[in-house]
Symmetry: C2
């Protein structure tokens, strides 16, 4: 079985974005009417999924995708908590409908209504709702809700602990995923996403978060940003700065996904990082679409790269399936309930 831990509903019906636009317009001009929540039919959802993500899923032979709202649209920089709560709820409800229309293909991961500098109570509540009422199996946690300005404390700070307590209680992991960059110096897909992965990993190296939360689990996407390419640098810095060994302090609770869009990158990832710490993913339909003109296949066809990597069958099965079942026990339970 092939489980893709990183898919986004980047093709949601236009009514969703129209609702968001109207909500943001009303924040600027409170005289505007409260926008009606988007009315989207099952057929519209089916069309946007079947013609896009699911078409590719079937072509490539992925079995299950952990699916979340469009990451770049989470918009945590909008500093109105009520707007964030509504937007997360509407987005998550739409993901829920995808998972009920296509239960064999999709399981949900929640967008959280984070706002930089605000308490995490509403994120805790939405996580609980998404997991207990919508059957979601994980969430996306934004370490920089300011959108490229890094005004929040590191993920090792107690600011984040209420969310970690709820994640631990519910036994769900978080993918660490920023949203759009509001900083004109920092491109969203080509810099901010990768920088966030790198920055977060180093925050974990500096701290001892998993001593406090031994069952907390994080997925760092996009192949771990710059980290595996600079694996020697991290080992050397940890030694020089007398941080605990990374293997025992971080990699017990952290996984990198395979959203690295060329064979040499996947070869490095799978050669340097233990197969126990890698989860298959495509980010599809995500940052990079279209075909590699040299190869005649899609850049984000990461299954192709993982299949070609020098791995034992057992290690490949961990990356494709068994690690994900361990990191996302609620997904494992769903699959088992389906007889898979």
């Amino acid at each position: 079985m092939i489980i893709d831990c990183h898919g986004h509903y980047t093709t949601a019906p236009a009514a969703l974005q129209e609702f968001r636009d109207a909500s943001l317009a009303r924040l600027k001009d409170p005289a505007l009417p409260v926008p009606a929540e988007p009315q989207i039919s099952d057929d519209e959802i089916r069309a946007t999924i079947e013609g896009n993500q699911l078409r590719v899923v079937r072509e490539r032979g992925h079995d299950m995708t952990i699916f979340s709202p469009r990451a770049s649209a989470m918009g945590h920089h909008v500093d109105d908590p009520a707007t964030a709560v509504t937007w997360a709820r509407v987005c998550n409800d739409l993901i829920y409908r995808v998972t009920t229309l296509f239960p064999d293909y999709y399981a949900g991961a929640a967008q959280l209504p984070q706002v930089a500098g605000e308490p995490l109570d509403s994120s805790v509540a939405e996580l609980e709702r998404a997991v207990t009422e919508l059957g979601f199996v994980g969430c996306n946690l934004n370490p920089d809700p300011a959108g490229g300005f890094w005004s929040s404390p590191p993920l090792t700070d107690e600011y984040w602990f209420p969310l970690y307590e709820k994640m631990t209680e519910l036994d769900v992991p978080a993918m660490i995923h920023v949203s759009t960059s509001c900083n004109p110096a920092v491109h969203t897909l080509g810099a901010h996403y990768l920088n966030a992965d790198t920055t977060t990993f180093m925050q974990l190296v500096q701290g001892s978060l998993f001593e406090r939360f031994p069952t907390l689990r994080f997925v760092i996407p996009h192949g771990g940003g710059a980290v595996p390419y600079h694996w020697g640098r991290y080992q050397g810095i940890a030694t020089r700065e007398k941080f605990p060994p990374i293997g025992q302090n971080v990699m017990t609770n952290v996984w990198f996904d395979t959203c690295v869009y060329h064979q040499p990158g996947i070869d490095l990832l799978t050669g340097v990082i233990s197969p126990d710490n890698i989860l298959f993913a495509s980010e599809m339909l995500g940052a990079v679409r279209g075909d590699n003109p040299d190869g005649g296949f899609s850049w984000d066809d990461t299954r192709r790269y993982v299949e070609a990597a020098k791995l034992t069958d057992s290690d490949r099965a961990r990356i494709f399936e068994t690690n994900a079942r361990r990191v996302y026990p609620r997904l494992d339970a769903r699959l088992k309930a389906q007889g898979r």
Copy 2:
């Protein structure tokens, strides 16, 4: 010949930092006396170089190092232009003395007196002084003088053009190098440095800077941050967002150094990036010191990795020597004057 394009005077005599500390103290309390500039003897310089960088240089058989002040101490976030001017001058003068005491081993690269949000006139002036009076062959350019907050415009913005005009006139390249991170979420060596490399590369992908400055040359250190590991991602984003092809728009004027501290990283770099776009470097004595416990050699012994990489002798010679002579023509002239 082996040219290391990336060395810092991280072992400068304590008097240098004492002067800096006194300067910063006086910024807080103007009643304090103007600190005297540091008095450092030739013997002190010799001792700090011969016992450190030069010892390692001789052990490893490097022939020439492009040497600049300690990057993390540039401190461009200190928003007093006069302090920045003095600090850059004092640091560059010390580098100059290293290059005159050890002319066979060291050539200078200048620290610029940047201050976030301030015009670049004083940086232009210091670059001119360093090149024409001190014989420096390049400079370090900080794309984020705010130190982890990215408040400056992208390097493609005309804000930077006065410096590019002077660099072009003097025919010297810049290494893109940030200084310390003032942002508690972003570790200097384990995140900020790599993020800056990644961010800057993407700024260049988005723009068309080298159309305007066809002979401008940038070295992106630390192996290009996350870029080579995600080379497929960048190709895909450039295609999807209709940026010009990276090979023709960026790689004509950009080089990555080899400060990647393990064999798989160097193998990826040299396998993915053209050997014409790679410059040998060690960052020594830099971010990572000490030995890899598994290998019994220093993490930053990058010569070892480049020697072991699958490269033709001709490609290896480009990485070790001939590219650097091309990127730093003033270094080439110095070497030729020395009969090398």
